[in-house]
Symmetry: D2
Subunit: 423 residues, 4 copies
Amino acid sequence: MNINVQSSTSFGLNPGDELNDLRMSDSARPLLDHVRKFITETVEPMQVEYYKLAAGHRDRWTFAPGQLEVLEVAKNKAKAEGLWNFFLPDAETGDGLNNLDYAYIAAELGKAPLASETMNCSAPDTGNMEVLERVGTPEQKEKWLKPLLNGEIRSAYVMTEPGVASSDAKNVATRAELVGDEWVINGEKYYISGAGDPRCKIMIVMVKTSPDAPASKQQSQILVPMDTPGVEILGPMHVFGHDHAPRGHMHMKFTNVRVPKENILLGEGRGFEISQVRLGPGRIHHCMRTIGKAERALDLMVERGMSREAFGRKLAHLGGNLEHISRARIEIEAMRLMVLKAAKAMDVLGNREARVWVSMVKAMVPEKTCKIIDQAIQIHGATGISQWTPLAEMYTDVRHLRFADGPDEVHHMVVGRNEVNNR
Amino acid sequence: MNINVQSSTSFGLNPGDELNDLRMSDSARPLLDHVRKFITETVEPMQVEYYKLAAGHRDRWTFAPGQLEVLEVAKNKAKAEGLWNFFLPDAETGDGLNNLDYAYIAAELGKAPLASETMNCSAPDTGNMEVLERVGTPEQKEKWLKPLLNGEIRSAYVMTEPGVASSDAKNVATRAELVGDEWVINGEKYYISGAGDPRCKIMIVMVKTSPDAPASKQQSQILVPMDTPGVEILGPMHVFGHDHAPRGHMHMKFTNVRVPKENILLGEGRGFEISQVRLGPGRIHHCMRTIGKAERALDLMVERGMSREAFGRKLAHLGGNLEHISRARIEIEAMRLMVLKAAKAMDVLGNREARVWVSMVKAMVPEKTCKIIDQAIQIHGATGISQWTPLAEMYTDVRHLRFADGPDEVHHMVVGRNEVNNR
Amino acid sequence: MNINVQSSTSFGLNPGDELNDLRMSDSARPLLDHVRKFITETVEPMQVEYYKLAAGHRDRWTFAPGQLEVLEVAKNKAKAEGLWNFFLPDAETGDGLNNLDYAYIAAELGKAPLASETMNCSAPDTGNMEVLERVGTPEQKEKWLKPLLNGEIRSAYVMTEPGVASSDAKNVATRAELVGDEWVINGEKYYISGAGDPRCKIMIVMVKTSPDAPASKQQSQILVPMDTPGVEILGPMHVFGHDHAPRGHMHMKFTNVRVPKENILLGEGRGFEISQVRLGPGRIHHCMRTIGKAERALDLMVERGMSREAFGRKLAHLGGNLEHISRARIEIEAMRLMVLKAAKAMDVLGNREARVWVSMVKAMVPEKTCKIIDQAIQIHGATGISQWTPLAEMYTDVRHLRFADGPDEVHHMVVGRNEVNNR
Amino acid sequence: MNINVQSSTSFGLNPGDELNDLRMSDSARPLLDHVRKFITETVEPMQVEYYKLAAGHRDRWTFAPGQLEVLEVAKNKAKAEGLWNFFLPDAETGDGLNNLDYAYIAAELGKAPLASETMNCSAPDTGNMEVLERVGTPEQKEKWLKPLLNGEIRSAYVMTEPGVASSDAKNVATRAELVGDEWVINGEKYYISGAGDPRCKIMIVMVKTSPDAPASKQQSQILVPMDTPGVEILGPMHVFGHDHAPRGHMHMKFTNVRVPKENILLGEGRGFEISQVRLGPGRIHHCMRTIGKAERALDLMVERGMSREAFGRKLAHLGGNLEHISRARIEIEAMRLMVLKAAKAMDVLGNREARVWVSMVKAMVPEKTCKIIDQAIQIHGATGISQWTPLAEMYTDVRHLRFADGPDEVHHMVVGRNEVNNR
């Protein structure tokens, strides 16, 4: 892991530097307003219908009749209004949202579950499109990027393995061997989000191609169509008992899966290099959405605290509750500033130089948000873990984030090493 | 709340006192060995069959054909071997297990989900039987205690309400009014564990009978048969998304439910008094089972830590993991000693005098155990929240305990007030 | 306490707002560079001589011969270079540093103990001058502000009382009664920083003048010359055993102290109003200096961690140390952004509207910094609490800050109330 | 480090075992009562006089005239009453206090600063006497143990070094080389408690004798009289600014210090073996005294909380204070039970087998006590860090304990390794 990137002395020591300007740009502001309006006027009403259809549907592992249709109507509306693929800078001109501006918009997207998908800005498709856009061949772009950009298909990113500590990416054990003109892939993967979705047609799979190369050159990323023989979904993995049907977090097996030699991305042994492309912005996006959840939890904590009484006082004024509320507010503001600064660092320094910032916020935000949600739960009593508030589901989602895209411990290792190596 | 009971100077300051002898009694030891043997030889094989039947059953809100039958076989075997109702001291002689001995046995019962029920020692029946035994009339005992003691029926305890902060028991809003010779009950309750079980025939319901009496004399507890007209189950409450079918934690409504005047327990306005009977031992039992879960989580943490490697070292030796393991061990031993001392305090001082000890362990054990399980989850990565380990379910169960039988905050209030009032 | 000032919805929700621009202004940059250069070239060499003189001096409660002279030389140099009183905007034009720019400079001032005093920017004189400048009469300004601005005398701020919880300012018990044309003051105060300094000539004293007025109108602030009969220094208060001679934190008694009626500031009953003037900027200044200490502690932690070995590894790579280092870095960056944002809020919204931000950082920074210093101590072993590192003194100073200018709890109360009242 | 001693399954799993009987023995009870009476009637009045003499004395690094005399009077009284050396079992019969009984008495000794010394039970003499008693030659006993047992001289234990991480004892760098019939010692040590006391006549010094032996056989312990040429006290080390004159924690240098060959204890390369003798009981003693401080801090917290008001309520009932009080009580009881169990484990299992228990309490007690004292400080405001309460000094003492006799981290390593190695 090469993290000898950023001297600790760069942290905040150039007071006039652009890095410290965390304002959204004027040019992006109309888009933010448009997105907000679109969510309120189009996405939210559509969601009501979408979930109503789902609720009446028996077979949890398919979409209900009509469900995808109402979504498509909204997607077409988004496309027509230009609210489409804005996560991705223009391929030729480079024009588009910078990370800071996108962070502000991501906070809005995080407020409605279907907002991102409606505007074709949802994970893991965003990361997959970004990778294809940057390193794909013209043929790969034609075949997979185009329908993804059109919102016609969806995709999966296939990284984590059940059998090894894949927090150390060097442990990846799924093998791809070149036999003639084909890669032959064997291995087991799990927590593959969205692989249960019938619209999911293509996967980017992290594999070990070159076991004898230096540690950071052994891995590659390969495009594997879902319908390739030998690709098998063993079943859904649960998140605290939920299976998130019908998209699911799938447990998958690859048995002698054969794809053409050309399906490799960028080239053999360049798997890690590609990871650098995708990880920064996706994590920022996750973090902003998580802060949105922390805000929601604080809202609920205050609301409950002011509407219930016990022992003669409102709950908010009982015991340490008001201090918990204060601490939640302080941590939320601190997290928001940190994520904005990390986004700005990516814009100003580039993803590579900014990676310590990204690790800082990835290690900080889900852990602190879990604590805030947990306290919101506590003030609700049993209602806090029931289906009557979103708190229990928010908790399990954010708890999941403490491993997804690298566990907290690995991000602390990145930040810690940067400190000790740069003196 | 009268907690001016125990001077803080009594805490551990009489070094030779019996309170400090935390040994199980010799006389109870054979029972412990018998229970252990019975769990291994009878309960565990039965559980395998029981859960296999459940797994193949479609209608989640009924038991599978044959499921209750295999349980009955084991119950009869327990009864025949004298492993039955041992939670309850003999009504006439007072002979039976003391709380300390029962605590050691409870730790064993906690290791197999069906062990308690097989030996007729499962909540909330135990508390309900204890109450009926102590304050029931001969008629109440004949009608409800007898079949409960025989394991023929089950019961529910109906306390918590969705509409108020019922951590302050004075807030109970469900009304019972005496109309002629009948109590007429109206109100809403939730998280009524076991009320979905078809064998559940009787409830003890906490109600407000005397709104004009002093605050601690307004409540009563009334026996209500499940099949009384006006009793309605609105649906199951979830615990982090689980509904725990078929027994469930039910949301219930009482509409003009009429029961005979004699169904009141002990008398009008004595609801709080009855609560004192039931709460001590049940909480000790919960705490010992929870410590069993903390032990299990630590086992899994160590096992995972020693079987996986990352960055060239076993996970257990990576970063702060070994310190987390040490801290878990220290907290587990401290919790165990505290619960044993609380049990001993109940034996030596009586439930009333020991209530500060009970509050201390109720505030301490679930919170610390949640942290231990959470760290065990973290070292497992995504597997920790999946269906492949018991950790996720253990977490949600123990998290629930931080409200059940009084939220942590109320127990800290009891302990804190005892400190400030006894000087 | 009127804190119904700022809607929670203002927190970060206007992404393009100037509030989010945390850059130092271009115009202030030359001053920052000048201050840095002056500290290195003038203050630091002077400090060496100053402390050498102190070390050889027996009478701890006086300055050593020559000590004040070397300081005066440096002060005159600062004045000549224009590095003087820059904490204070121009009385007529309002020109001067804004809070954000001053925050960046305060971080520099915090690095050398005598830097602030050399440039006449040291507490509590800064707050006192600010108050006199804004609310003083022409006579008061002539008599006290002028020599303070010239650095000829020093001053004290006399607020905290030993006999009451003065975190609730309404508890102030020191009485001032108008007798004829004079205020007659009686009471006891403590932790009066700098009152032992022979150059300290004037105090601003918080007193109760109007016990029958509404709670927030009972207090006044009065100018009391040090040499007024009845003013008595009872002795120095310690901070973890240190007396900070010769300036000290004094325990004082006021017995029938008489000052002219005109010595009241702004008017009777306006004591709280004056407090609003002084508290914001001072706290920001404290916080920036504290972050400087956190940085220094992290430096020492890393340095020690990389220069010592145990059990075959560098300390930094042993156990959880690297994670502690990472967490320290993350918290430091978060604190810095928060303090800068609070400073900016004062510039953009005004002190009154920004007070929730000030309370947020005052509650956040000293507590988190104490933890960071404590971990730096731990990695040093016994050396960490010895005279061989600055860590022990840094710890006690920052621990002190958790009460000074309002204890953490009161600031959390301000933040918490703002949350619950603004919905 | 051989810690493969105790299977984790032994933790609390034999419910009837003597290990769980934490009662003081009946036979030791009269001694406890006698010690209590002696402290009240003799030690405490003597202390008043002792400290009064010290207060009037200018030369901090000598005792005041008469100071040692009043102490001697009390010592003689203790000797006459048989309250003398009771920390040490009878050399021939083995009769004496077991660790559990001594733990209860240590709690009493901890309440008065001079109680231990008056009864000749003070560190580091106790450990040194224990070592001499067990491994000393007849000549060593005659020359040094006898006057120590008589209370005629005092001693020092010389272990920690400033130049290395001596938490890993293998790092000890002070060299002793055999030249002819003499050991020649060169090196630097620090934090040598009591070495400034004019009565301190003998040191036990940890040295490296055999750099080529296996790691655990390189160290030896050697007796060095204070007046040996080449022994030099460089000055006192501070503990948060205190020098603890006149006994001090000394920084020492050994330059070609020559002692006879026979001064080695037990034999060359057996330094670690001797450490096992001394460390268990001393740590238990420290822990019990520390719990006494936690109790005292809680007392002060409650007292302050009930005697001051702010914002219309007693401080104890404001914000989270009552919960802090509750948590302090819970942790104190848990710590006490753990220390008693560790003492019992030493009695039942022997020091070697019980060492995991000793590490558990050494890692647990000072850290948790620091937090309790810190909260007591916070509720006092500035008075909490002043000379008006014992809290500041208690804090610095207990903070020091987190390194003394092994830092927390090393004890967690012992506990953690025991967990992972015993499965």
